[in-house]
Structure formats: structure tokens, C-alpha cells
Symmetry: C2
Subunit: 367 residues, 2 copies
């Protein structure tokens, strides 16, 4: 023990105490998308919803008794979980609430993966998964998706002794989905937990909710950040059998959801109609933008999310930079599989009109 610590010591400069874990010290940390000063840019880079939260959220906000903030929130978030249970046809004890779904992903890794064990995740996917594995001291096991970004055959065999596989459905940053039957087969054959990150499921044609009933090794996480326009409030939910939820409840911070997060989350869930209407607007804009970019010579992957993943007819990085000079932010993920593409969040119609106008201008200039 002392020797190990001593070897750590030798790596360390004056500003660092001698004991930071090696896996932490050697890692870079997750890089969230750029957040420019408000109003300065058209932000199509972090998959935010272009519409404000439901009027019911606003009303709840206005009516919250601010004096109550002196008291601790319900550590179990019972009212929020009851509301979610009713909405999704589950029992409250099959639900855990998180400080955003990132909190739940962290809790999942900490509940399931011992230091030194494997954490599997599809590649490409949400770039937070490998970071969470790194923090836990787990071996990151990327599962390369096929050329059409589909799950490889015999996946369950290649990760047979791994306790946790994380995948996003619809996937990010590709926006594509995996057939439900393929996921079902995976859950049946894989011994570890299949964590299905459904942050974008409300924008998709189907979801995996029914698998909770079928399998004890399935967790589904949802976010209120995207479809419910609540990114700033940090509310996520995860669903699983009650036994597994109970274990995850031990790992979460006692008071992980603030009082306003619980109340506003509940209000958002109650206004399904408002949310669905925004989804409709976003989907329409997604199809329109996809068609227009295709006409400009872009390859556009079929999206089931609130963004599109597309390969421009010019270097992706250049396209992104040209857009930035025109005050439009989109996102580029370096790497062999993703580097030729950019990810564009679907904004309001006027924002997408400006994106297409800028794109037309860039294409003309470049060719």
C-alpha cells in the first residue's frame, strides 16, 4: 500500500497532493458542448429543446413556497416517482429519480461495476460512458457498431463476463435506432445488465419500456432535459425491477433531487399534451431539414432523435467552422467513425431556415 502511494507521489507536481487516484489523474474528463453567452449564437450543439417547458411548469414555479427551501427535500422523491409510475404503468418502487439522467448513469456504474471489471458501451455512443468507466476504475470495453451503426452479431459472447453494457436507443450522436427485437435478444442472452439510455425515446417510433417486465437485467433511463425542455432543472428517471432499483437507491446521494426539481419534474410529466405537441414540431422540422440537406449533397442518417447526424460534402470540421463564423453552433466528434459527420440539433423553424441558408452559402463558396 505504501509503495503504491509512493509511486503515485513521484508523479505529482507541487500543486497536487500525493494521493489522487491514478485513473482520475490520467484522464481528461468529459467535455460538455460549448455554452456561449445567451443570445449570441444559434445553439444547435447540445440537443436542447427549442421550446420552453410547459405552462404548468411555469405555474408550479410561480406557486412554489420559496420559504420551504430552508427544509430538505424528500430524499425518496416519492411524489415524483408516483406520478411517473402512473404515467409509465409501473410501480413507484420500480423507479429511481436522478439529478439529470447523468446522475443515474453514475449510480448505475457504481452499483454494478467493481474497480477492474469491464464496462461495455457501444461505439460510437454518448461519450460520457467511457468517462464514467474511467472514474470508477473499470476497464472500458467499446463495442464497435457495424457500418450501418447496428449492434454486431454475437455481441453477448464478446462481453460475456462484463457486468454492465450501456447503450443509447435512439443512439447518440448517430440518431439511429436498434430494432427492438435485437435488444430483446441481447437482454435474453447477456448475463450482465443492459442499460438502455432512452434520453431521446420521446422523439422515436418506439421504446423498450416493455422489457422491464420481461427481464430482470434491464434498466431504462429517461431524461426530462430533451423532450420536456427541462435541461436546466436536472431531472432524470430510471426504470427497472424493484430489487435492482432498491440497490441503486443505496448508492445515490440522499438528497439528490432538490425540492424545485421534484416539483417541476412532476409538473412537466403531467403535461403530456404540451410535450407531444413540441415533439411533433421538432419531428416535422427534422424531416424538412434532412430533406434539404440531402438536396445539398449531405448524407443524412435516418434520425429518431431531436438531432440529425450528417456527413457534409466538405470536411466536417470545416463545415462546422464556417457555420460558427455565421454564429451557428453545431457539434463535431473527432474519431474514425464519427469524424466525417456533424451533429445538428433541431431548433425552431427560423433557426433551421438560417442553418440551411448558411449551408447553401458555404456550399456555394466551397464548390
Amino acid at each position: 500500500m505504501i509503495d503504491k502511494r509512493a509511486s503515485k507521489y513521484s508523479f505529482v507536481g507541487v500543486e497536487l497532493p500525493p494521493v489522487v487516484r491514478r485513473n482520475i489523474r490520467s484522464m481528461a474528463g468529459y467535455k460538455p458542448g460549448e455554452q456561449p453567452p445567451p443570445g449570441s449564437m444559434i445553439k444547435l450543439n447540445t440537443n436542447e429543446n427549442p421550446y420552453p417547458p410547459s405552462p404548468l411548469v411555469e405555474e408550479t414555479w410561480r406557486n412554489l413556497d420559496y420559504a420551504k427551501l430552508r427544509t430538505y427535500p424528500d430524499p425518496q422523491a416519492q411524489a415524483l416517482r408516483r406520478t411517473a409510475a402512473e404515467k409509465f404503468g409501473l410501480k413507484p418502487e420500480q423507479i429511481i429519480a436522478g439529478n439529470g439522467s447523468d446522475d443515474l448513469l453514475t449510480i448505475g456504474v457504481r452499483t454494478l461495476v467493481d474497480q477492474g471489471e469491464g464496462l461495455a458501451y457501444t461505439d460510437p455512443s454518448y461519450s460520457l460512458y467511457p468517462v464514467l468507466g474511467r472514474i470508477q476504475g473499470a476497464r472500458g470495453i467499446p463495442v464497435a457498431l457495424g457500418s450501418d451503426f447496428q449492434l454486431p452479431p454475437r455481441l453477448q459472447k464478446t462481453i460475456a463476463d462484463v457486468p454492465l453494457l450501456m447503450l443509447a436507443r435512439p443512439n447518440a450522436p448517430t440518431g439511429t435506432t436498434f430494432p427492438l427485437e435485437r435488444i430483446r435478444q441481447l437482454c435474453r442472452k447477456f448475463r450482465g445488465v443492459v442499460w438502455i439510455d432512452e434520453a431521446y425515446a420521446d422523439f422515436a417510433e418506439d421504446n423498450c419500456l416493455e422489457l422491464i417486465d420481461e427481464f430482470p437485467n434491464v434498466v431504462i433511463s429517461r431524461s426530462l432535459s430533451k423532450s420536456y425542455s427541462l435541461a436546466g432543472m436536472r431531472v432524470g428517471l430510471a426504470f427497472a425491477r424493484s430489487g435492482l432499483i432498491e440497490e441503486m437507491m443505496k448508492v445515490k446521494d440522499s438528497y439528490n433531487l432538490s425540492l424545485p426539481a421534484q416539483k417541476l419534474g412532476e409538473a412537466a410529466l403531467r403535461d403530456e399534451e404540451y410535450m407531444q405537441n413540441n415533439i411533433k414540431l421538432i419531428k416535422a422540422e427534422r424531416e424538412k431539414t434532412s430533406r434539404a440537406l440531402t438536396e445539398f449533397g449531405f448524407t443524412v442518417l435516418p434520425s429518431q432523435a431531436n438531432f440529425i447526424f450528417t456527413r457534409p460534402p466538405l470536411p466536417a470540421n470545416e463545415y462546422m467552422e464556417e457555420l460558427r463564423q455565421r454564429s451557428i453552433l453545431i457539434r463535431h466528434f473527432a474519431g474514425e467513425r464519427t469524424g466525417d459527420f456533424v451533429r445538428i440539433t433541431i431548433g425552431q423553424p427560423e433557426e433551421m431556415r438560417l442553418l440551411l441558408e448558411a449551408t447553401k452559402d458555404i456550399i456555394r463558396k466551397m464548390t
Copy 2:
């Protein structure tokens, strides 16, 4: 690897998937203090501030643009950290903000303690520390305080190879403090990080802030839950040298503080005068209650917090139950060192009057 998992499998019932970590499955989880329905009880059990947050917090609350909740909060909480830096005479890069100070304690353990390594904490102290060690898969190393609840001599030798020692100053649930010179000596001689949890420091005569300048192995955490009356909003801060803060920033969830938490936290920090006035009221009530209980035959430890730790002249559990029947909640911690005592949060004058009246009644009935 497969064998280990197989042995886990054999422990597991039908409701649990086969892969929950052993340390999680075998633990009980942290038990927060009881949260009764609002208004039904006099709550002197969770160290909440009896006064609402500053009017500046209310104003900020009213003026928040709810539509902005659709966007992600600043992942770095820069405005909040700048405000805190100014207030505490530090640089922003010496500060990390947390979703309550519990979030920061979790981040600290994850940054510093490898699975299988030791996490030391004083005993008695905040009962979350051993839970955090357990979740991380660390060996919990309780450091028994002396009969006067002081740090034992030669402490740094008994935990020489441990990467992290957590202690609370003022301590909970005792309300007592450790001499600053003793802490300084500990920081100088101990090789690991000394985490000084100052959740109650605003109620104390001094604090350890100056040690940040003196030592690279010191972290100080603060909470806005108690002195700033913001328990429901979840805002905590930790201070250390910038190198260590940078490592902890990698471990935190990207968006760990909601937009309202950042804004309201900042507003609270700006109204020092309001906070200090509440502290004055609470301290006066603390002294008054301590004197009265002493007259009733209670042993009252000298408190530097917003609660008192006291040994009643009857079994502590009975006293707590008798109070509960009179709609007053206090807290009891079972165990050899703490079982004879109860912890009573200092409330408003009228609440403390009712506590003393009930106590008088209980004493009369019992003797």
C-alpha cells in the same frame, strides 16, 4: 472474473439481476432523518435553519426566466464560484460547487480512494462517511475520538497509509469542535488528504479556511443548507488548492448544479448580513436552551453548531419517544458512544419554548 460473478449469482433472489456489487448488496444505505408531513410536527431532527432564505433569494427566484430552464446550466458554475471566491478570499479555480455538500463528499472519495484502500473518519461523526466508503468499496477506518470527543494523539501514525481522512468541524452529532492548532498539526503530519467538513462552521467561533493556503492536502467543504437556509435547493462548496480542485472537477457529473441552484446559491452568498443575523438568533437560542436543559439535569456538550448534543437524565430513547408523542421530533443515534445522548436542532424561540415545556413535563412524569 467469471468465477467471482458466479459466486455473486448464487446469493441472488429472483428479483435481483446477478451482478450487483457485493459491497452494495451487503450494505444498508444511509438513513436520513425523518421527514414528516409539513406542519404536523415541530422538526428539530435534521438541523434545518428555522428561518427562510434571504429576501434576495426570493427576489432572484421571482425574477428567474423560467423559459431558460430548457437550456443546460453552466457545467462549471462559474458565476457562483466567482461570487464565492470573492467572499472567501480565494480564486475561483480553488472552488468546486456541488449538488449539496454530500455531492462533494462523494466526489472527494471517488477522486482520492481506490477500491480496497482505506477511508478514515472520526467516530462519532457524520454517519454518511462510512456509507460513502462502503459504496466506493473502501475499507472504513473509524478513528475513535477520546472521552471528550477530541482527536486521539498520534492519529496520523495510526492512519499513515490512508489516502483520505474525513472529519467534521464543528463535529456532528456532538456539536463540539477541535482546536485549530490540532488540525494544523494533523495536516502537517498526515500524508493523505484531510477533508474538513465545515457544514456548521458559520455557527462556530472559528474555521479552517486559512489552512488552504498552508497545505496542499486540505479540502474544506461548506454547505448552504444550514446557515443560508437552502437545504431544499442543494448547494455546497469545497475549497482546496487548484490542482486538487481540477481533479475533482473531472469526477463530478457534468451538470451537477441546476440553473436555479446556481442562481439562488449566488444570491444567498451575497446576503451575508441576513445570514449573520439568523446565526445570532440561533446562537442566542442555543445558549438559552443549553442553560435550561442543564437546570433540568441534562448534560449539555458545549455546542458550536445549530444543534445541541445532550444526555438526558432518563434513557435517551425514551426521552425522544416522549417528545414524539408531544409532536416534537429530535434525533437519536444508537451506539456505544452516542446512545445516551440526543441531538436537538435549534429552532425558533417558540419551538424551543415548547421543547422545554414538554421536557419539563416528561421529567416530572418520569421522576
